[in-house]
C-alpha cells in the first residue's frame, strides 16, 4: 500500500503507539540521532533499526516496516532504550509493537513460529510435556515440595521457569538452586505441572495474546496456594511477574533469586567453606540489570565466594551486552545467523576472555544469572578462538560448589 491511504494507516498506528504506551508521548521527541541504532547489537543488520522505524512511521511506511524481516533481529535487550537521550520507550513501545504487527501480518520466521506454537500447545516453548515440568526434581533428596501435593502454605513460591525445568544444560543450576534453598532451610514449594511459561519472551516477540493466556494460567495456579512471595530463577519471569502481570491485575511480591540470596549473605558466607580459585567475569542479564536495576546483588554473591576474583567486562551493568536470547532470539538462532553471520554470544565470550585473561592454567569462569545464557555461551566457547577453557556457570552453581553441595 502506498499513497495517502498508507500514510493514514501509519499515522494512526503512530498515534496509537504514542497514546497507548506509557511515556509514548516521548516518541514525538525523536531527533533521529541514531544512538539507539548504534547501541543495538544487531543495528547494523536491520533495514530499519530503531530510529529508522520512527522515521518510517513518520513517512507513512508501516506496511514496509511490517514486510521487513530484519526487524526480527531485535533481541529486546533494552540497549536502545538505555541510551536514548529523549528517554523514548523504544523496546516497550516501538519494537515490540512492530513485532506484534509483523506477527499479525504472518511475517514470522519458521523457527519462531514453531516455538510460539509449542508455547501455545504445551505451555512451554521447548515443546516438552507439561506433565514433566517437575521431572528434574524426581528422586531429589530431600523431596522438593510441589504445592498441589504438599497442601500447605509456604513462605516462598519458587517459580522455576521453562529452561530451568527442561533444558539439559540448565537443569544442573536448577538442582543447585534447590540444594541451596534446602541448605538455608527456606520454607519453599514449586508449582510443578501447574506452572506454565512466564510468557515474557513470547510477549517481546510480539505474541501479546499468548502472553496473556499464559499469565492467566499462572495466575490461576498462584491463586490456589498460600505463600508470602515468589522468587524466580529466570530474570524474564521476574520481569513478567513484577512489571507485566500487574497490568493484567495479577499482583504478587516477586524477587529474583540473586536478591533473595544476597539478603541471606551472612548465612551463606558461613556455609561457603570451599574455595573456588578462579577469575570470574559476570554477565549482567538484560532483564535483571538494565531493565530492573539489579547490579549489586549478583556481584555481592560472587565476591562472597572464597577464592573468587571478580573482574568486569567491557560491557557491564546498564551497558551490558545481550546474550542474544531475548525477545524471541532464543528461537531465531538460524534466522539471525543467516542475516548477521555472527552471534552476539560469541562477542560476549570474546569480551569475557579479554576480562579473565588467556592463562590456560588458571580457572576462568563466565558467571551468569539467566537460564538463556549457559547454552548460548557454552556453544560460543566452542567456536571462539582461545575460549575452550572458559567455564560457563550460573551463580547458584558456584555457590553450591562453595557450599560443598555439588554432585
Amino acid at each position: 500500500m502506498t499513497g495517502p491511504m498508507a500514510l493514514d494507516t501509519s499515522k494512526e498506528f503512530l498515534n496509537q503507539l504514542i497514546t497507548a504506551t506509557p511515556d509514548g508521548e516521548r516518541i514525538r521527541l525523536c531527533l533521529q540521532c541514531g544512538a539507539c541504532s548504534g547501541a543495538c547489537p544487531f543495528g547494523f543488520v536491520m533495514k530499519f533499526p530503531p530510529h529508522g522505524m520512527i522515521a518510517a512511521l513518520r513517512a507513512g511506511m508501516l506496511d514496509t516496516l511490517v514486510d521487513t524481516d530484519t526487524s526480527w533481529m531485535c533481541v529486546s535487550c533494552y540497549a536502545c532504550t538505555q541510551v536514548c537521550p529523549a528517554k523514548i520507550p523504544v523496546t516497550a513501545g516501538l519494537t515490540t509493537r512492530i513485532k506484534e504487527e509483523m506477527l499479525l501480518a504472518g511475517n514470522v520466521p519458521s523457527e519462531l513460529q514453531d516455538a510460539l506454537e509449542k508455547a501455545q500447545r504445551y505451555d512451554n516453548p521447548l515443546g516438552e510435556s507439561p506433565r514433566k515440568r517437575a521431572e528434574w526434581a524426581s528422586g531429589f533428596e530431600p523431596e522438593i515440595p510441589i504445592m498441589a501435593k504438599a497442601k500447605r502454605p509456604v513462605d516462598v513460591l519458587w517459580f522455576v521457569g521453562d529452561y530451568p525445568s527442561y533444558h539439559a544444560g540448565v537443569i544442573p543450576s536448577t538442582k543447585a538452586m534447590a540444594k541451596i534453598l534446602q541448605a538455608l532451610d527456606v520454607d519453599f514449594g514449586i508449582l510443578g505441572p501447574e506452572e506454565v511459561s512466564d510468557g515474557d519472551s513470547v510477549r517481546l516477540a510480539g505474541e501479546s495474546g499468548l502472553f496473556e493466556m499464559l499469565a492467566e494460567k499462572n495466575a490461576k495456579a498462584f491463586d490456589k496456594y498460600e505463600f508470602n512471595e515468589i522468587i524466580t530463577t529466570d530474570p524474564h519471569a521476574f520481569n513478567a511477574i513484577k512489571n507485566e502481570y500487574p497490568n493484567l491485575e495479577i499482583s504478587y511480591p516477586v524477587r529474583h533469586y540473586t536478591q533473595f540470596l544476597a539478603e541471606r549473605l551472612d548465612q551463606l558466607e558461613k556455609l561457603m567453606k570451599k574455595s573456588i580459585e578462579a577469575t570470574v567475569a559476570f554477565h549482567d542479564p538484560c532483564y535483571l540489570g538494565r531493565v530492573n536495576g539489579i547490579f549489586e546483588e549478583p556481584r555481592q554473591l560472587l565476591q562472597a565466594i572464597p577464592g573468587v576474583e571478580l573482574v568486569e567486562m567491557a560491557h557491564q551493568r546498564e551497558n551490558s551486552l545481550c546474550c542474544g536470547g531475548g525477545g524471541g532470539g532464543m528461537w531465531l538462532d538460524g534466522f539471525q545467523w543467516e542475516k548477521a553471520e555472527v552471534r552476539i554470544s560469541e562477542w560476549r565470550v570474546r569480551e569475557a576472555i579479554s576480562a579473565v585473561g588467556t592463562d590456560e592454567n588458571g580457572t576462568r569462569i563466565l558467571a551468569v544469572a539467566c537460564p538463556y545464557e549457559p547454552p548460548r555461551f557454552e556453544d560460543a566457547t566452542k567456536t571462539v578462538p582461545g575460549a575452550a577453557g572458559l567455564i560457563v556457570k550460573d551463580i547458584v552453581e558456584l555457590i553450591a560448589e562453595a557450599m560443598g553441595l555439588e554432585g
Binding site: 523457527e111 521447548l126 539439559a168 538460524g334 556453544d379
Partner: protein
C-alpha cells in the same frame, strides 16, 4: 482359493519397489502358516519382465495401456473384480503413495476390511494375524486378520526384501483386463527430483558431521568415508553455520528430518534440535569422544573414540573389503 495370499506388486518407472519384495516375504510367512498359495499380482503394460525375480508360487499378470503407469482408479478397477472373484484370504499392498489409496477405495467398494501400517502378517496355530505399527512406532497393535478377505497395507518391518526375491521365475498367467473407459485420474508426467544438491531426507546412507569435525579441511575425512560407504554427507547446525556445507545438508531444526537406513553420526553431541530430526533413522551409529554425549541415548551402537583416528581407519577397511 480362500487360503491364498495375494501381493500387489508395486513398480514405478520400470522398477519393482523394494516394498514389493518385503510383502512377498511377509506373504510367504502367512501363506505357509495357513496352507495357501502365494500369488503375485502384476499390473502393467509390456511389463511382464518385472515378474522375473518375484518369489511367489505364481504370478497373475494383467496387461493394459491404462496400467502402464500407476493411477489410483485404474488400479482399483483392475483389482476389484479380481479380488471379488478369487476371494483370497488376504491382499497385501504397500502402505505407500501407491498402495494406500488403492486399499482404501477397495475396502469400501468391496465391503471388505482393511488393516494398515502392518509390519508383520503371519499365522499362529493356523490363524492369520497382523501386527500394526502405529503412533509413530510407539505402539504395536496385534489382532486376528479380519475375514473373509482382508486388505493389508504394509510398512517395512519384520521381513527382509531379499527373502521376497527368487532366481527361479514363477509361472506367469495372463489375466484379462476390465474396461478402463472414463478414468478420472490421469498421469500427465513425472517430474524428477531437482538436479543440483541431493535430498538428504530420502538418502539411505547418511554420514553426519558435527562440531567435533573442528575445521573445514577435516570434512575431507568424512567425504572419503562417505565415498567408501556409498553414502551422503550431512551435518548438524554448527557445521552449516560455518558455511562448510550448504543448508540443504542441514539435519535438525530449521533443516531436514531424515530417515535413512544408516545414520552415522561423527562428532555430533546430539542436541535435541538435531535429535528430533534423526529419530526416524533405522539404525544410528555414533562416534564421539564424550561418553556422556546424548547422541548415545538414541544411537543403537556407539564408539567412544577420537573420530580423527577412527574415520581414516574405517575408510581404509571399507576400501579394502
Amino acid at each position: 482359493m480362500g487360503d491364498n495370499i495375494y501381493v500387489v506388486i508395486e513398480h514405478l518407472q520400470g522398477q519393482v519397489s523394494e516394498i514389493s519384495y518385503v510383502m512377498l516375504a511377509a506373504g510367504r510367512a502367512l501363506a505357509s502358516g495357513i496352507g495357501g498359495e502365494l500369488v503375485a499380482i502384476l499390473l502393467g503394460h509390456q511389463a511382464q519382465n518385472l515378474a522375473g525375480d518375484l518369489a511367489a508360487d505364481r504370478v497373475l499378470y494383467m496387461d493394459d495401456p491404462a496400467l502402464a503407469e500407476f493411477t489410483p482408479d485404474a488400479y482399483q478397477l483392475a483389482l476389484a473384480e479380481l479380488i471379488k472373484t478369487d476371494t483370497p484370504r488376504a491382499v497385501l499392498l504397500g502402505d505407500t503413495s501407491v498402495g494406500a489409496e488403492v486399499a482404501g477405495a477397495l475396502s469400501v467398494r468391496l465391503e471388505i476390511p482393511l488393516v494398515s501400517r502392518c509390519s508383520s502378517v503371519h499365522a499362529k496355530e493356523g490363524t492369520p494375524k497382523f501386527v500394526s505399527q502405529i503412533c509413530g512406532g510407539k505402539i504395536m497393535a496385534e489382532g486376528d486378520l479380519p475375514g473373509p478377505t482382508a486388505l493389508v497395507t504394509m510398512v517395512p518391518g519384520d521381513f527382509k526384501a531379499e527373502e521376497g526375491q527368487s532366481d527361479q521365475p514363477a509361472e506367469v498367467t495372463s489375466i484379462p483386463a476390465p474396461s478402463f473407459d472414463d478414468l478420472k485420474v490421469t498421469l500427465k508426467q513425472y517430474i524428477e527430483p531437482e538436479v543440483g544438491d541431493v535430498d538428504i531426507s530420502t538418502e539411505p546412507i547418511l554420514i553426519a558431521v558435527g562440531r567435533g569435525i573442528q575445521q573445514e579441511a577435516n570434512l575431507e575425512l568424512a567425504e572419503e568415508l562417505a565415498a567408501a560407504l556409498g553414502g551422503t554427507i550431512c551435518a548438524s547446525r554448527p557445521v552449516v553455520d560455518q558455511g562448510w556445507l550448504p543448508i540443504s545438508r542441514l539435519v535438525g531444526k530449521s533443516g531436514k528430518s531424515v530417515k535413512p537406513k544408516l545414520f552415522l553420526a561423527i562428532g555430533i553431541s546430539g542436541a535435541p534440535e538435531h535429535v528430533e530430526a534423526v529419530t526416524g533413522s533405522e539404525t544410528i551409529i555414533a562416534i564421539n569422544t564424550d561418553p556422556a554425549a546424548p547422541i548415545f541415548d538414541i544411537a543403537k551402537y556407539g564408539a567412544n573414540v577420537d573420530l580423527f583416528e577412527l574415520v581414516p581407519a574405517l575408510t581404509e577397511q571399507l576400501q579394502g573389503s
